[in-house]
Symmetry: C2
Subunit: 298 residues, 2 copies
C-alpha cells in the first residue's frame, strides 16, 4: 500500500493548496464571512479520495499536473457543497463533520445554504476557466460531465432517493441500496477519475473504464463505511456514528449481514482492480486505493 498512501498524501496537499488559492478570501464583512464558511467547508478535511483519483488518472494519461490540481479542487468544491447542504437540519441534521462543527452550527442555516450554493458555482467556474486547460472543448467536456454526475441523474438524485427511503413503508433491498449509492456517491467519484482522463485527452473507452473503476471503488468504500458505522468510534471517524442504524435505515450491513457486506465490498474491489489491468504497474496506486477502500480502519 506504500504507493497509495504516498500518492494520497501528495494529492491531499496539492488539492489543499489549489483550494486555498481558488477559494475567495475571508474577511470581516458579510461576503468575507460567507467566504470563511466556504473555506471552513472545503479546506482542511477529509481523505481527499476524489482529489487523489483526479490527480492519479491525470498522471496516467499524461495531463498537465497544474490542470489536474485545478480539476481536483473543483471536484472537492462540489463534494464540499453537497456535505454542507446534506448536514443541514432539514436534511441529515449533523452537527459534526470531519471533526469540526458543521457550517450551520458554526455560522447559521442561511450561511450554510449560500456557502453550499457558492461552492457549487465555484466548481464549475474552475473547470471552465482557461487556466484549467488551453482547449475549450476539454473545459466544456469537464463541466458537462460534472453536471451530469452531480445533478438529478447523479448525486442530488441519489440524495432524493435517500430522503424518500426514510419515509418509505418497505425497507430497501441490496440492489436498491446499490442503485441509490451509485447515484449519491458513485457518480461524483466516477467523475473524479474520469476528469483526469478527460484532461489527458483519453478516448471514450478509457474514460468509461476509469469511471467504472472509480464507481466500483466508491461502492466498496461505501460498504466499508456502513461496516465502520457499526464497528467504529466517533473520535476516529470525526462524525456521528450509528446514525443509519438509529434511524432504522437499510444498509448493506442490515440487509446482507456483516459477512455478506464484507464479501460484496471485496468483490467490488476485485472488479475495480481488474479494470486497471491495461495500465499495469503505472496504475499501482489506483489499484491499492481499491484495496484500501475495503481494508481501512477509519
Amino acid at each position: 500500500m506504500a504507493e497509495f498512501h504516498a500518492a494520497l498524501s501528495a494529492a491531499a496537499a496539492r488539492a489543499e493548496a489549489a483550494l486555498d488559492a481558488l477559494l475567495p478570501p475571508d474577511g470581516p464583512d458579510p461576503r468575507g464571512r460567507l467566504a470563511a464558511a466556504m473555506r471552513h467547508a472545503a479546506l482542511g478535511g477529509g481523505k481527499r479520495l476524489r482529489a487523489f483519483l483526479t490527480i492519479e488518472t491525470a498522471a496516467l494519461f499524461g495531463a498537465d499536473p497544474k490542470a489536474a490540481d485545478r480539476a481536483a479542487a473543483a471536484v472537492e468544491c462540489l463534494h464540499a457543497y453537497s456535505l454542507v447542504h446534506d448536514d443541514m437540519p432539514c436534511m441529515d441534521d449533523d452537527d459534526l463533520r470531519r471533526g469540526k462543527p458543521t457550517v450551520h452550527i458554526a455560522w447559521d442555516e442561511a450561511t450554510a445554504v449560500l456557502a453550499g450554493d457558492c461552492l457549487q458555482t465555484l466548481a464549475f467556474e474552475i473547470l471552465v476557466h482557461p487556466d484549467t486547460h488551453p482547449d475549450p472543448a476539454i473545459r466544456a467536456e469537464l463541466a458537462l460531465a460534472l453536471a451530469r454526475a452531480s445533478g438529478i441523474d447523479g448525486m442530488v438524485g441519489g440524495q432524493a432517493l435517500d430522503l424518500g427511503a426514510e419515509t418509505a413503508e418497505t425497507a430497501l433491498g441490496a440492489e436498491e441500496i446499490a442503485a441509490l449509492q451509485h447515484l449519491k456517491t458513485g457518480a461524483l467519484i466516477g467523475f473524479a477519475a474520469e476528469a483526469g482522463a478527460i484532461l489527458g485527452g483519453a478516448a471514450a473507452d478509457a474514460r468509461d473504464r476509469l469511471r467504472a473503476y472509480a464507481c466500483d471503488l466508491g461502492a466498496a468504500f461505501q460498504i466499508r463505511d456502513d461496516l465502520l458505522d457499526v464497528e467504529g468510534d466517533a473520535g476516529a471517524a470525526g462524525k456521528r456514528l450509528r446514525k443509519d442504524a438509529d434511524a432504522g435505515k437499510a444498509t448493506f450491513v442490515t440487509v446482507l449481514g456483516a459477512e455478506g457486506a464484507r464479501a460484496r465490498a471485496q468483490a467490488l474491489a476485485d472488479s475495480a482492480c481488474a479494470r486497471l489491468e491495461p495500465y499495469g504497474a503505472r496504475a499501482a496506486a489506483l489499484a491499492q486505493a481499491a484495496r484500501y477502500a475495503v481494508d481501512r480502519r477509519a
Copy 2:
C-alpha cells in the same frame, strides 16, 4: 411599447418551451418528486425579463435562435434556483411566489434545498452542452460568465450582503444599496444580456456595452419594485408586499423618498437607452424594456 410587449411575450413562450423540454420529467418516485419541484419553481411564472434579454441580444448579434432559447432557459434555471433558496425559512421565509406556494411550502425544506441545487447544476449543464453552440469556446465562455455573475462576486455575494444588512447596526445608504443590488440582481441580469452577445460572437466592447445596459435596466427595475412594494397590492404582484418596510430594511424609497427614487430610476433608464444608441432601431424592444422597467404597474 408595442415592440417590447410583443417581444417579451414571445421570449416568455420560447423560454417556457425550452425549459419544459430541458427540465427532467416528474413522476411518482423520489426523483420524479424532485423533478416536479424543479418544474414548479422554473415553469409558468415570472415576467421572463432575463429570457427576453438573452433572446433579444442574441438576435441583435445574429445568433441562432435555438441557441438563444437554450441560453435563456439556463438563465431562468439559475434565477429559479436563487428564488427557491431565497424563499426558505432560514432566508426570506416567503410562502408565496409568482402567486403559487413556494417549494418548501408545497413540498418541504429538504426538497427546496435539493431542487435549488439541481436547478443550478442544470443551468451549467445546458450552457456547456454541444446543442447550445457548435464552438466549445463559446460554451465555456457562457458558463464562465454565468459562474462569475452568480457566485460570491455576483448574485450570492449580494444575498450575503442583504443578510448582513438585516443585522447591521446602521442602515445602508443609497450607494450601499446600489452596490448590494448590483450584485444580488444586477449581475445575473447583466449576464442575461451578455449571453446573447457571447452567443453571437460579439467583441468584448459590445459584450460590456450590453451588460452595462442590462445592469442599468436591472437597477431601475429594482427601484420600481421598491416603489411598487409600498404602493402596490399583493394580488397583482403575486407575492407578499411591504415585507422590506415591515422588516425595517433600507430601500431607495426609505433613503431617497418616493420622488427621489423615481428620479434615480428614470436616470438609470436614460443611461440604459443611451448605451443602445449604436444599434439604432434594431434595439427598439430593448430600449422599450428600460422604459417599461420604470413605468410598469406590477
